[in-house]
Subunit: 226 residues, 2 copies
Amino acid sequence: MTIADPDSATTDHRRRRDPESRPQQILDAALEVFGEHGFAGARTDDIATKAGVAKGTIFLYFPTKDDLFKAVVRREIVARIEDAEQRRADAGDMSARDFLRIFLTNYYATTQGTHALRMLRLVMGELHKHPELARFYGTEVIARAWTLLSSVVQRGIERGEFRPVDPMLAARCITSAFLMHRAWSEPSSPGFPMISHIDSAQLGNDLVEFFIDSLAAHPADRSHTP
Amino acid sequence: MTIADPDSATTDHRRRRDPESRPQQILDAALEVFGEHGFAGARTDDIATKAGVAKGTIFLYFPTKDDLFKAVVRREIVARIEDAEQRRADAGDMSARDFLRIFLTNYYATTQGTHALRMLRLVMGELHKHPELARFYGTEVIARAWTLLSSVVQRGIERGEFRPVDPMLAARCITSAFLMHRAWSEPSSPGFPMISHIDSAQLGNDLVEFFIDSLAAHPADRSHTP
DNA sequence: TGTATATTACTGACTAGTCAGTCACAATGC
DNA sequence: GCATTGTGACTGACTAGTCAGTAATATACA
């Protein structure tokens, strides 16, 4: 298990008062356990053990298991928004190809680790039972991400580098592929045996290049560029 | 609720003995309830009610809740394999574009309804807890689908109609997009508000055309065709 | 054809176990 | 001291799985 370190008996970290970081510890553990077992399958006892606190402590900070779940998702929403803000950045006069490459590579990097997969599981498997949260997530994460990505594609179209495609559709196809590939490259995934031989970074690059080439304007279409 | 039809009071279907069709009734109900609430969140009582039988009846046909879950997934695996066999069919000397179009349209049609979404939820959210089933699903459904689709792409590349892309990668990107779009077009999905204005068939067509154009060989690349 | 008897499908109250949430008490810091 | 933070045994609601009993059908015999 992951609980306390060996010297907990002497220093007893678990009882050290640290009300500032308690909620974060608990939320970290909760994401792990919810992501692994789903909402109904997760035991608060397990979350407490993972967080290194007693079960009662959880209910000191979150009134119900449901509230804890919502807090986990909300924190994730905030994190994703902050990611997006950072990525918005500076296109400069970079070519659309290069900008999209950087943008997607960045995006792929933020979904690294089991963290993103767990969140994907929660969003796909549990969020529909919390309509309010789902709407929040839809507008604050999904819609934003799609709009942002589609604006990058749009820019490429306007510069004549990309073929005239519905930018929103392209954005959705690209995010689908990146998310699903993350999910599939997890050892416990049913798709794993088929892609386990590819290393994660290589997979990211392959995806990026696939979509960049997918969007590339055919030479014949380039009539409107110098 | 969805239980028995109005005349159940008079004819009392629930008490009618029908050992032949019981397992199917139960499996249908189970897919609904598991798909809606996940494994842990599903109550056998609810499954029984939906199937129009008493709870005990379920355990007459399936020893445990776990076995019931496995049976649901297994039946779905078989159904998917049969779908795939049917789609394999006759390319003739059709152009790769047309063949891929027909193939994908067909594929999109088989994932219609909430049925496929529920299955997607189970596969993404629950299957990792049943490694044996996951492996089974991986080899018998996912691997098959990818191989099949990639062979269609491969054919297009060989005919010079498609650009020289890794066919397996293309297959995975295409399936990701189709699956995720199905999931996102569900009213309860967080992505729903963004794509609800598109009708399902139109969405399918858009996806098909997007990927066909994505794969199209650039005129300049066509050196090896007549 | 009706009626007694056997067989099989099904039922639902019950049991044993689980787990979210509580609370009386303990430890810590000021 | 005494206020704040944390603990873990406890409770009560809930649910997978059981099983004694009931009802539908099949078979036997007249």
